[in-house]
């Protein structure tokens, strides 16, 4: 039950990883202990620094929306995404067509290839 898992070329043991993470957490706690506790509360010292401006109350005005993340990835892959968008056209008869074409292709492959 506690033994490791062998794949023939390597092994996997979850407890090594758990010990590893425990070690890392100790390290993190150690680094955190360098932090200073003597800052002045309720002054400018515990204000968030945001380019010297006042932080807006509503988080919506300063957060990056999800559809903007990976913008560069999307631009770099533009040709592929144009194809994929065309593929997911939303038309039911297109989807039926993909299915019929796939059946025909796979059928042809297996019929000719066989064993």
């Amino acid at each position: 039950m506690w033994s490791q898992l062998n794949s023939g070329a390597g092994y996997w043991n979850v407890f090594i990883w758990i010990i590893f993470f425990a070690g890392i957490s100790c390290f993190v706690v150690w680094i955190r202990s360098f932090g200073r506790m003597d800052y002045k509360r309720n002054t400018d010292q515990d204000e968030i620094y945001w380019e010297g401006n006042e932080v807006p109350d509503d988080g919506a005005s300063i957060s990056v929306p999800a559809s903007s993340s990976y913008w560069g990835f999307r631009v770099a892959m533009e040709p592929l995404y144009r194809l994929l968008d065309k593929f997911h056209s939303g038309s039911g008869s297109d989807y039926a067509g993909y299915f019929v074409v796939t059946v025909a292709l796979v059928g042809l492959l297996i019929l000719i290839g066989g064993k």
Partner: protein
């Protein structure tokens, strides 16, 4: 016969009974209805677990409806293989357990999630029908019966996807799914009919023992292959999947995931057990591998750019199914050559089955997390969410576990199964694990995006008053989280006791035939 022998029948009977008792019980008040819902889901789970115990540490179970032997012997001595039978081996039991767990978790979740909506009787009846259909697909030993269960689960899922019929998108998703699904079902029936015409039987074991290579058989395997690949969401036919998963009520989405798993079970069963003489070491395995790679890559590419949370997860389902198709395809290519099987075939099959179990559990958990977010905020759009980790700590914690598992971050279970798939597919061609790893990285990227957009960041004014999801929803999610953690902590126990037995049962076609036909 004691009650243990009747377990396979109970597996399908319990949810069916639940479905047909619903109209009576549903009008007895909220508490009784909820208790009934949980009780029947839990009994189904118990049945599947006890079948699992009996099968993993014993022989395959064969249950003939209304008789002792599956063949009807006439006084003249002629015998016809006419009776309907259930056959559950280790491979089927594994999938039945996954389905029952997801069904139980979805039931717990739905009690709170659907509380404020009407139409409970219909919801419950269809939910149990869907469970019965999916479990029946894993239990049956008869191809026509398999078709009937496919249709039961399909019709129930059309109804459930369109459950919120005031939303145009829900109706649209259901209609598109139904359109292609009906063509698929008819092609499946043509395939089964052709087999019956040639071999005079629809019993899987009998067909498997008589099967020869021929043009008709090749056409039939292509038909059944494509139909079931469509049902489990493989690449060129996956388009229904994100639509349906996104629009269905969340408790149902969690179950739809396992219905696609049941179709995956059927696909693998057909390739490995019914047509081993055609599928082994030939084109079929390569078609599985190619379709698997395409599903993995294109599924995740589409997922990265989505900004609606359930749609994004729907595209991830496609790429996760791709992993399993790849692994079982590698196993199919190796099957038949004893040395290849020992070198990498069994590892691939074990990895694929491990991934199937992982996928159905953590994916169901992810969908439930998405549903919990929707319940709390009223939106599925990631652009509008933000800073919810402060308000919903439990959902956040369980989402992190599930997201780390699906992205294959060690030490979670997703990594273990993906690692087995990488190592074994490397033996066939190095490009396969490369595609799988790129997919894994992109999966991590898109879940990092979901986590950042929904849970991190400054609190938004609209969501200051958002509260954690109610207890029943958290309980449903907790069931799946515990299952994920168990698979994470004891991968070697699960592999050697469950996945290896399932892989051996799948590869050993003769044992599957022998369990029904006796010593042939």
């Amino acid at each position: 016969m004691n009650i243990r022998d009747h377990l396979p029948a109970f597996l399908v009977m319990l949810p069916l009974l639940g479905a047909f008792l619903t109209p009576a019980v549903g009008s007895l008040g909220k508490v009784i209805r909820n208790g009934f819902y949980i009780l029947f889901s839990f009994l189904t789970l118990l049945t599947s677990l006890s079948i699992g115990c009996a099968v993993f540490w014993g022989n395959p179970m064969v249950y003939v409806m209304g008789g002792d032997s599956f063949a009807l012997t006439l006084p003249s001595g002629m015998s016809y293989p006419v009776r309907i039978l259930f056959e559950i081996d280790a491979f089927g039991a594994l999938f039945a357990i996954c389905i029952a767990i997801a069904s139980f978790a979805g039931a717990l979740f739905s009690i709170a999630y659907m509380d404020k909506f009407s139409g409970w009787k219909k919801y419950l009846a269809l939910y149990f029908m869907l469970t019965a259909g999916a479990l029946g697909m894993c239990a049956t030993g008869d191809l026509f019966n398999f078709f009937v269960f496919v249709e039961i689960s399909s019709i129930a899922s059309f109804g459930l996807v369109a459950f919120w019929r005031d939303k145009p998108e829900a109706i649209e998703a259901s209609f598109k799914y139904m359109l292609v699904s009906q063509i698929a079902a008819m092609l499946l029936l043509i395939g089964i009919g052709s087999l019956y015409g040639k071999y005079n039987s629809v019993t899987m074991a009998a067909l498997s023992s008589m099967m020869r290579d021929g043009y008709l058989e090749r056409v039939v395997i292509a038909l059944i292959f494509c139909v079931l690949a469509f049902k489990c969401g493989a690449f060129p036919m996956h388009t229904w999947m994100p639509d349906a998963y996104a629009e269905a009520p969340t408790g149902v989405t969690c179950l739809l995931v396992t219905v696609s798993q049941a179709s995956f079970y059927g696909l693998i069963r057909v390739c490995y057990s019914i047509f081993p003489r055609i599928a082994t070491g030939g084109v079929v395995g390569w078609v599985l591998i190619v379709i698997g790679c395409m599903s993995m890559f294109f599924g995740v590419m589409m997922a990265v750019v989505q900004h609606e949370i359930k749609r994004l997860m729907g595209y991830h389902s496609i790429s996760q199914v791709g992993y399993m198709l790849l692994a079982l395809g590698v196993g199919l290519v190796a099957l038949g050559d004893q040395k290849d099987m020992i070198d990498y075939g069994y590892t691939a099959m074990k990895g694929g089955l491990f991934h199937a179990a992982n996928y159905s559990i953590y994916k169901a958990l992810l969908f439930l997390c998405a549903g919990s977010l929707y319940y709390a905020t009223g939106t599925r759009n990631l652009d509008k969410m933000g800073g919810l980790a402060r308000n919903m700590p439990w959902t956040t914690g369980m989402f992190v576990i599930a997201a780390a598992a699906i992205s294959g971050l060690p030490p979670f279970n997703g990594f273990v199964s993906k690692w087995m798939i990488y190592e074994s597919s490397f033996a066939i061609h190095p490009i396969l694990p490369a595609i799988a790893m790129v997919t894994s990285v992109l999966t991590l990227a898109s879940f990092a995006k979901v986590f950042q957009a929904a849970f991190l960041g400054p609190a938004k004014a609209d969501f200051v008053a958002v509260r954690e999801a109610p207890g029943f929803m958290l309980a449903g999610m907790a069931v799946l989280t515990v299952a994920t953690l168990l698979l994470t902590l004891f991968p070697s126990w699960f592999t050697s006791n469950i996945f290896e037995k399932a892989a051996v049962a799948l590869a050993d076609n003769a044992a599957y035939v022998r369990a029904v036909m006796g010593g042939i």
